[in-house]
């Protein structure tokens, strides 16, 4: 399973470790819904830490798309909301 942390690159994560991320991902989704940036940030940082410690970096010259994508650590909740709603934050 390939996970991208935006701004940092891609990591290869063993599929068996996905279960660990699930509750953290749910917490992040709930935090995005709540609109509380502090809550969002702590949920994001927790998920980023879990992914970073579980993953190993993908080779620079590998051309693979990611199964999962995580926002960058400093992302504001509004930016992430805009990305999720497809409001053109991701340039083509």
């Amino acid at each position: 399973m390939i996970v991208r942390i935006m701004g940092e690159g891609q990591l290869e994560v063993d599929d068996t470790q996905l279960a660990e991320f699930s509750p953290l991902d749910d917490a992040l989704a709930a935090a995005v819904e709540s609109g509380d940036d502090d809550r969002f940030r702590s949920a994001l940082v927790a998920l980023l830490d879990a992914v970073r410690s579980a993953g190993s970096p993908v080779a620079d010259d590998a051309l693979v798309d990611s199964d999962l994508v995580l926002p960058y650590a400093e992302a504001h909740i509004d930016e992430v909301r805009a990305m999720l709603s497809g409001e053109g934050l991701i340039p083509g």
Binding site: G7, E8, D60, A62, L63, D65, V69, L84, G86, I90
Partner: protein, 266 residues
């Protein structure tokens, strides 16, 4: 998976849309390759811009620190001349500068982090662009338009995602440098306006002027006292005080006085 999966789908749909636009998918390869090279140039320029901003902040930090040190010296000098008001003024200005320096240190750390991230992003992109070029040539040489479709999709979506991500990272870095340049400009103006004194040392600030005046007055007084002493026979304690020995000397002075009086008696 909630957010993680939704985010990856957004990136992927972006790549799919770009592929759909082309009549012959093989044309997409060349088009994308040119875009990749453009982005690579942009990322490298981004790294250079961030570095320039970081260096500017470094210069300002050293200027402000120099000013701060100078004010500290002025405060000490003012205090030794008994001008607590002047010392207070110098220290007040110094604390203003110190908070600016702290602020700049935070910005500097942020820019340094940004620079490192972008440098790594440029390396990653460079490696991927190179890999894409190889793949592109193989695909163009070996497959018809119809056959190429799936193979192109594989190569294309991986690099497309990287390009989106790096493109956004460069944008963020540019936004950050722009806001920092505005703040750095404000500090430059502050330094130039003389409010923080001229670091070149050509202009003299009001505290220096006052200290110089005090020092020259003090020199005159000392000279006068010395002259009086020469005219008056026999040493007295009075001129020693005028010479302005350190306050700490008071405690030491007493035991010193006693043996000297004994010497005088013998």
């Amino acid at each position: 998976m909630g957010i993680l999966q939704r985010m990856s789908m957004i990136f992927r749909s972006k790549a799919d849309r770009a592929l759909d636009r082309a009549e012959d998918p093989r044309e997409t390869l060349d088009y994308s390759y040119n875009k990749q090279r453009e982005l690579l140039v942009k990322v490298r320029r981004g790294v250079a811009d961030v570095a320039t901003s970081r260096k500017r902040i470094e210069v300002q930090m050293s200027q402000l620190s120099g000013q701060s040190g100078k004010l500290q010296e002025q405060a000490q000098k003012a205090l030794s001349l008994g001008r607590e008001d002047l010392a207070r003024e110098a220290l007040t200005r110094r604390s203003g500068l110190e908070s600016q320096v702290t602020d700049l240190q935070t910005q500097h750390a942020a820019l340094q982090g940004e620079e490192e991230k972008l440098t790594l992003a440029a390396q990653r992109l460079q490696a991927k662009v190179e890999a894409f070029r190889t793949k592109k040539e193989t695909i163009k040489a070996s497959y018809t338009a119809a056959e190429a479709q799936t193979r192109i999709g594989e190569a294309f979506s991986g690099i497309s995602e990287e390009m989106s991500d790096v493109g956004m990272a460069v944008q963020r870095a540019e936004d950050k440098t722009a806001s920092m340049q505005a703040r750095a400009g404000a500090i430059d103006e502050l330094l130039a306006s003389g409010a923080l004194d001229d670091v070149t040392g050509t202009a003299r600030d009001d505290i220096t002027v006052e200290l110089d005046r005090l020092a020259s007055t003090n020199d005159v007084e000392l000279e006068l006292a010395r002259m009086k002493q020469e005219l008056t026979p026999g040493p007295t304690e009075a001129p020693r005080q005028i010479e302005g020995q350190a306050p700490a000397a008071d405690t030491v002075a007493e035991p010193q006085v006693a043996p000297r009086q004994e010497e005088g008696q013998s």
